[in-house]
């Protein structure tokens, strides 16, 4: 039997895997081309089908040895003298009788064995990074020993995926293109160009008019006050000019604050709009993504992306972008004004500015290191909370309250010490920085005083006062510029995290001309279906069956055998990697997924109820259902009675995940939901395994009403619950090993079902 395997991996993903290996690991992204040619030549042109890197030698030092698998051979290539000279050892596959892996803490050993008692054909050692690639090799060799052939598609892609996958799962992009990320983020401002231009104009106006009051102060002193005091200007005229200047200053302040209102409001609102757009796009995309994505990512991390990361981007877009650009404008403007007022004093003030910015940047860096310690110690503290609060019954039962309090206090003290270290650093830095700024100002005084007294180049009192006022305006933009790197870094990190999700393509997509089955009759056909969640290790290996509409199929067999995978494929949560699944004769991949899933119902072992009322939960799949339909479905599900006993009846709000109801009650609500949904194909996955016998009887009764007239796939470990099945499929090791009615299977003397059944009868 030949099992086809096709991972359907896109070229884009392959190139990402190669990029990840190149950037993040110290190993080659593929088998060296020259070595591959040499190996294939030694196999008379047969292709390398799979390969792996054995990165540890016999003495457990890092090395480079390649293991290549071909149709007739396994070849081990070891680098000699550390250069790319290869010593090849060929093993005929016909001589291989077993392969054994001995796993260790951080290194595994694969032994390829020939005849019993003969020396091992090869012993290979490798770190966990190579383990997936070796598992693929082992799988193919073991399948061959069992008489089955696994055909692989692209050895390079397989190797790259196996090495890069753990890194890709942790971070599905290669970071580093900060400019591109910022540009893409700023692209979200495009729909709000008008508001952005207005906001930026208001901000520029604020910056420019801020430069006016110090100038006016100098002007009034030099051109009005002093001439009037010295009798060179008439007091009446001086008063008029002075009041005019005061009026101008009032106008400046008014304009500035009006512009500030415009700027703050426009940019804050604009930032919110962009954050809203990002959140909406992100959530919509999350809903489209396949289950495989959710199995790779923690829910908490996804929630953070939708909430905290978009919030951080709001902050950056609303204020960060404007603050940074205007601070640059302000510093340039101030520098120009100071140098034009008096170039000597201007140089004293402007030359240290880069030094101040650098000092603030360094300060931020050193704070980051302390923040890391604080974060680590905080996580220890929260670990104690998340351990002991949910487990408080165990703590009390073992009388460990005092110990847990001491543990918490210890971590609490650690956190406080680190935070105080943090306070110690910034409370020292900022006064020191201000001292340096004051020292600069003092330098200005030192240079200016002799000149004010007539020694050296002339300096008017007004110009000096303007100068001093301008110097006070330096601190704020220096602070913003100094923290610019951190602001941009935080924003790009959040943007990366958001874009990582947006750039993930759903693995299950509708075909270009997807069809609708109207109506779905419920025939389900598997034709040589193979499936691998990851790599070439198949969890389903050539499964074929044909189920007629209305049949109740019981899926039984050991855990990990492939039962849940079968129902996941019927629900099209994943696409097959080989073979075909047909619904009413049509390839499932040609169906419009949304329409198809509306014909599908699931009742799971741990039913999920959403936060909301019992009524909303029952109506989840059919929001327009009438109350009569809801009550009828609940009655059929044996749920109506207990729901009416609740204080608020169907309007009872069930908590997060429906925790206010017992397991059996939640199960019956989920059955009512499925009955109302009226699916043509129904999947029951251990629907009664976590309830007591009496509740199980009630649920069983409800299920019998639910399954009538539908095609049903029911997974159950308790075989007694499948008495009424039309046929039973025994699934083991990814294969359909037996099928038939209960009576037929029990009659098989050496049958697996019979063995399972007898074991359960004995236990009962």
């Amino acid at each position: 039997m030949t099992l086809e395997w096709d991972h359907g991996m896109t070229t884009e993903l392959q190139s990402l895997d190669h990029e990840i290996i190149g950037r993040y690991t110290d190993q080659p992204a593929r088998l060296p081309a020259a070595l591959r040619r040499r190996i294939e030549a030694s196999w008379n042109g047969a292709p390398v089908q799979l390969y792996a890197l054995a990165d540890l030698d016999e003495a457990l030092r890092l090395t480079e040895a390649w293991v290549a698998l071909g149709p007739g051979h396994v070849t081990v290539a070891r680098a000699t003298d550390g250069r790319h000279e290869w010593d090849l050892m060929h093993i005929e596959r016909a001589r291989i009788e077993a392969v054994r892996e001995a796993p260790g803490l951080s290194a595994s050993t694969l032994t390829i064995l020939g005849r019993p008692g003969d020396p091992a054909l090869a012993v290979l050692r490798y770190s966990h990074r190579q383990r997936r690639a070796f598992e693929n090799l082992t799988f193919v060799l073991e399948e061959a020993l069992a008489g089955r052939t696994v055909t692989t598609v692209d050895a390079d892609a397989e190797y790259a995926a196996s090495v890069a996958r753990p890194i890709r799962d942790a971070q599905a992009l290669v970071a580093g293109r900060r400019g591109a990320v910022i540009r893409r983020l700023l692209g979200y401002l495009r729909p709000y160009r008008r508001q952005l231009v207005l906001g930026m104009a208001a901000a520029t106006l604020i910056t420019l008019v801020s430069l006016v009051p110090p100038y006016l102060a100098g002007y009034v002193i030099d051109r009005v006050v002093r001439p009037a005091q010295e009798g060179r200007l008439d007091v009446g005229r001086a008063s008029a000019i002075a009041w005019l200047a005061v009026g101008a200053m009032a106008l400046v302040y008014l304009v500035r604050q009006a512009a500030a209102v415009v700027r703050l409001r426009l940019m804050a609102v604009l930032g919110e709009w962009v954050a809203r757009d990002l959140r909406a796009e992100l959530y919509e995309h999350l809903q489209r993504l396949s289950l495989a994505f959710y199995s790779r990512k923690h829910t908490g991390s996804l929630i953070t992306r939708v909430s905290a990361d978009t919030d951080r981007l709001w902050e950056f877009l609303a204020f960060g972008v404007v603050d940074v650009s205007l601070s640059l404008v302000m510093l340039a403007g101030l520098g120009a004004v100071l140098l034009s007022l008096d170039w000597r004093l201007g140089l004293v003030m402007t030359l240290p500015v880069p030094l101040f910015c650098w000092a603030i940047y360094r300060h931020g860096e050193s704070l980051n290191r302390v923040f890391l310690r604080v974060w680590r110690k905080w996580s220890r503290l929260t670990d104690v909370l998340s351990d002991t609060l949910p487990g408080v019954r165990v703590v009390k039962a073992f009388n460990q309250e005092a110990r847990e309090i001491a543990r918490f206090d210890g971590h609490n003290d650690d956190v406080t010490a680190e935070i105080n270290r943090l306070h110690g650093i910034w409370t020292t830095f900022w006064p020191l920085l201000m001292l340096a700024v004051h020292a600069t100002t003092l330098g200005v005084w030192v240079l200016a005083v002799p000149r004010l007294l007539g020694l050296g180049p002339a300096l008017s009192a007004g110009a000096f006062v303007s100068f001093l006022l301008y110097t006070t305006m330096f601190v704020a933009p220096i602070e913003v510029i100094g923290q610019m790197a951190r602001t941009v870094q935080r924003a790009t990190t959040s943007a990366h995290r958001v874009f990582e999700v947006l750039d993930t393509e759903p693995e299950v997509t509708d075909a270009p001309r997807a069809v609708r089955l109207e109506p779905v009759r419920g025939r389900v056909t598997f034709e040589q279906v193979t499936f691998a969640y990851d790599g070439v290790r198949q969890v389903l290996r050539g499964v074929s069956f044909d189920v007629a509409p209305g049949e109740l199929i019981g899926l039984v067999g050991p855990s990990g055998g492939g039962k849940t995978t079968i129902v996941n494929l019927i629900a099209r949560f994943y696409d097959v990697t080989g073979g075909t699944i047909r619904i009413d004769g049509v390839d499932i991949r040609q169906l419009e997924t949304g329409h198809y899933r509306r014909q599908l119902g699931m009742v799971l072992q741990d039913p999920y109820l959403f936060h909301g009322t019992v009524l909303e939960n029952i109506r989840y799949g059919l929001p327009a259902a009438s109350l009569e339909q809801v009550v009828a479905a609940s009655q059929a599900a044996n749920a109506h009675d207990f729901i009416c006993k609740l204080q608020h009846g169907y309007d009872t709000v069930v908590g997060e995940r429906g925790h206010t109801l017992s397991g059996g009650e939640r199960q019956r609500v989920s059955i009512a939901r499925a009955i109302l949904h009226d699916p043509r194909i129904l999947i029951l996955d251990e629907a009664t395994s976590s309830v007591d016998t009496e509740t199980e009887r009630e649920i069983q009764e409800a299920l019998e009403r639910l399954i009538a007239g539908r095609t049903v796939f029911a997974i159950a470990h308790r075989l007694s619950t499948l008495r009424k099945a039309s046929r039973l499929f025994v699934i083991a090791d990814g294969r359909l090993v037996e099928s038939g009615t209960h009576r037929e299977l029990v009659a098989k003397p050496e049958g697996r079902y019979r063995r399972l059944y007898e074991m359960q009868v004995e236990l009962a």
């Binding site: 001995a102 008692g117 020396p119 966990h128 942790a170 302390v370 680590r376 990366h496 995290r497």
Partner: protein, 170 residues
């Protein structure tokens, strides 16, 4: 009042008497354990790799079943003990960090570049996965692929390495 005494299982009954156990490395390169008439190719797993690495070694067969538990290798005969110790070197292998050249944070991962006794190595940890501080004071880092990196005594590292790992040690 009637009471029922609950006896702890006798330690000699629930584990293999080490004296009867023989370990050999055979021509096929594998470790074989023999006890009475039974013999099995086994691989070894330390039960307490960090708190008591020298004792309690589980010998497991290809079906992952425990064939024998060696409480103390000194109970074995000299030849068996030597073979077991050799097997433990591979089973207990972790990378030994001697120098840290860089630790950089990216979006979701922390990227480490280190020198180890086995050679130069780059690896990644998740940002919210912290190195484990071992009882004896060493540091154990687990990367995203599951490889382990042991830093026995951070105080003996060079100045730059100490500065880089400072945030991760107590």
């Amino acid at each position: 009042m009637e009471t029922t005494a609950i006896r702890r299982p006798d330690s000699e009954e629930d584990t293999t008497p080490a004296g009867e156990l023989r370990l050999t490395r055979r021509a096929d390169g594998r470790l074989w354990a023999a006890r009475g008439d039974a013999e099995r190719a086994v691989w070894v797993r330390r039960c307490f790799p960090w708190s008591e690495p020298a004792r309690f070694v589980s010998l497991r067969d290809d079906d992952q079943q425990e064939f024998a538990l060696v409480r103390d290798p000194t109970d074995l005969d000299a030849a068996s003990r030597r073979v077991l110790e050799e097997a433990l070197v591979a089973a207990g292998f972790v990378f030994q960090i001697t120098r840290v050249t860089a630790i950089e944070e990216e979006v979701d991962i922390r990227h480490w570049r280190v020198e180890t006794r086995q050679g130069t190595r780059s690896f990644q940890t998740r940002l919210d996965t912290w190195p484990r501080v071992l009882q004896h004071g060493g540091l154990l880092v687990r990367d995203v692929a599951g490889d382990l990196y042991h830093l026995p005594d951070p105080t003996t590292l060079d100045r730059q390495s100490r500065a880089l790992v400072w945030a991760f040690v107590d």
